[in-house]
Symmetry: D2
Subunit: 134 residues, 4 copies
């Protein structure tokens, strides 16, 4: 997976056990996804163009392999793991030096307003833009 | 699953799409777990008694079923889904009124300092205390 | 000041020193302000009615008087300290039992889109609604 | 004030009004302070050496001058504004390009366990280390 960004882990990211409070790991995964959208103009502009309410989550998971602490430089690697008709699965890896800190996965949909509430729209237009930007 | 706590969802929990930023859902799952530990004296006291660094995460997952917004009263239901020798799996459900908002799962270990780094300790002493408190 | 809400302080709100990470105190002050807006329909509905981008911050301050920890029940007291033509100053107190934990202050404006960018609008329509709701 | 760090502002830092949720600004100020401590070994190591529970807050304030949004590169400038016998005052400026986004101030003490609770310790040993590291 390509390296997407580096996070300077700080004191306030950590809990009383002295390690990163785990919801922050999902926060960084989301930041990684948003960074993928930068060449497309960012989340808001892209969703306006695609007539979508947001590129939101259907499912998120992480496996925590080793601890992350204040002062660590966390390297976040991101890749598209799978395209489906109405969702995309993203794979994440977090590394501190040579050490694997976590592996993650997000399933995201292009939410649109449908006749009976919110529905997951077709991913093709998003896929084309993302692949062209790479 | 029994109702454990109610969250008054607020403006600052939501993102520019106007819905809850998903890492907050894991934050609330963790808050639910910590609340389970209250009758045992809370995380810090319990870990001191069990000679543990923390009841930390090996794995966390959530499936997002419907949107949560500013002003929603989120009901968090928690139960122990499974005990293993060296981990416990917790199940979560978040509901807004009659509507299922998310389902979650955490696998937690009792981390201890071992000879070659951090290891997952035996869960029995924790299990006994939690079951006695229920 | 009237009691507005109670916060069950949790593990994840605390830092490696074992006390609340201070930006969370501003998060709770904001949650208190949002709760003041509930009888008016909440932030989003109110701002739509008042043709405003948001009831945002010009200034925020807190003085930290004593530590807040995992398991504390934090009582948040809120009152309007002062109305001005183009801002409102809110006063906050956080208490844990008999003990004062913090005092805070927010200066908020009703931001509107002006000819040369964002401007602070007249507070009267907001003031009337808030005072009627009390 | 010297530039200390740059923050890639992301979607999840922003609220439903599409601008940064203001407690995050205090989170970044704290991250800046922690970064000042890196050459001294970081918060935890330093406090162990100085026999302190933490370099915690007595007071924090920010004035918000212009909005910060998803995709902005926020430059954080930090300097020591004033040393007192038992506190240090830090000054912060956040800039996006040429534009001032916020000005902030933190008053921090070196908290120690005293006979009747927590007290603010003498700042001299901390001051010497910080000034030597600059």
């Amino acid at each position: 997976m390509p390296l997407l960004m580096t996070v300077d882990v700080t004191f306030g990211d950590c809990d009383p056990a002295g390690i990163v409070f785990y919801p922050n790991i999902f926060r960084w995964m989301d930041a990684g996804f948003q960074k993928l959208l930068r060449p497309l103009g960012g989340h808001q502009k892209l969703c306006r163009e695609l007539d979508s309410l947001g590129l939101g989550l259907a499912d998120a998971q992480a496996q925590f392999r080793s601890t992350i602490r204040d002062g660590d430089q966390l390297e976040l690697h991101v890749s598209v793991a799978k395209w489906s008709a109405r969702s995309v699965t993203l794979g994440y890896e977090g590394r501190v030096g040579d050490r694997l800190a976590f592996e993650g996965r997000e399933v995201r949909c292009l939410f649109k307003r449908g006749e009976d509430g919110i529905v997951a729209g077709d991913m093709n237009a998003f896929r084309e833009r993302l692949e062209k930007a790479e």
